[in-house]
Symmetry: C2
Subunit: 205 residues, 2 copies
DNA sequence: GTCTATATGCTGATAGAC
DNA sequence: GTCTATCAGCATATAGAC
């Protein structure tokens, strides 16, 4: 509850509003109204609204990306990787359900941010190592004859597609079938289990 | 090439821009500039920008929804349904790659449009029949012992998640791996085949 | 039906007092 | 560091001439 300083309060309010409503629909006036301070302070601390957004976006992206690589490093077999990864991924996103939409949305809309990701993540050693590790796990199972020959990128895409879409479509599920928080959480848990089964079954020989 | 009238030209330009940049980022000035007519005409024909958007959105939604049910009615077995549906779905979206993002985006952002869908689609007889038909296909295979016991809703969600995410993430794929149109089309085709295999394998016993 | 002109409001950003 | 005051720009919408 302790107020720290207006700079960090603006960051927190902005984070909340950007994730909730997106960049375009959030005004600096909205942000400072939530904090209870003056609108000019946004420009004082962050120079522009765009720079404030970039700061928050990078932060969120870094968080999710370091989390993803962290979890996968612990895995010792492919099936282990899949179930551990999806479980951790779901747990993480459950505490921040709007994050997937926020990230995807801004990446689709803004080409500059895609270029940023390409340079900061895709081309990084960390990602290359990550992909090599996954590739080794896949190849080991293929040689053992336990799974069909599949591209690691396809496996990764399956996992991400199914997980991310679950959370993106959550508001739809909620309103289409009139579910409360408990109903939503049950749905998320059910989807998680079903997705793990689908993928593991789906790559088996 | 024949110019019909400004009303339909405004509709077409608006459709293009709304799908390209979204509602917020598209101004009525943008729309009329593309047509080459006066900005006031938007309000003359459609009263407000919001009403113009609603008209286009309903139209697109109706198109994609009637298309989805049409294809599935032809199916005679579950595996037939799955591969026919995904093939047709991919073919349709290939001609309009930004449509999935457009629809999802507006549904996530705007609760009113979710309510609209609930009343117009989810609660409609057409949808209920559609779901019953799918359920029958699933139950038939479960009884035959060819597939595991799965909820039809889960199957539908798998298909939609994997298909829709493919197209939503297309700009990302394009920029991350520097692909041209041919590369993108190959990627889409590869994903389609892989998704069909994953789902059919994934529900098999 | 199409135009010009304009009202009204909100945006992000800056200058300068305290 | 925080405020007030204010600017310039762009948005949608409307009134009225032609």
């Amino acid at each position: 509850m302790a107020k720290k300083n207006l700079e960090s309060e603006i960051m927190l309010a902005a984070e909340k509003l950007f994730i909730e409503k997106g960049f375009e629909a959030t005004s600096t006036t909205d942000i400072t109204k939530m904090v209870g301070c003056n609108q000019a302070l946004v420009n004082y601390y962050f120079r522009t609204k765009e720079k404030l957004f970039q700061k928050i976006f990078s932060q969120k992206l870094e968080h999710i990306w370091s989390f993803m690589t962290l979890e996968s490093n612990k895995s010792i077999s492919l099936f282990d990787f899949i179930s551990r990864f999806i479980n951790a991924y779901f747990e993480e996103l459950t505490t921040n359900k709007k994050l997937p939409f926020f990230i995807i949305n801004e990446l689709v809309i803004n080409q500059e941010r895609r270029k940023f990701i390409r340079e900061e993540i895709i081309l990084s050693d960390k990602f290359q190592n990550y992909y090599t590790t996954l590739n080794n796990l896949v190849q080991a199972e293929v040689k053992k004859g336990t799974i069909r020959d599949i591209e690691p990128s396809d496996l990764l895409l399956h996992i991400i597609s199914l997980t991310v879409f679950t959370f993106i479509s959550l508001p739809l599920y909620e309103d289409f079938f009139l579910k409360d928080d408990v109903g939503v959480q049950n749905y998320v848990n059910d989807r998680k289990e079903e997705i793990i089964i689908l993928i593991i079954n789906g790559i088996r020989k």
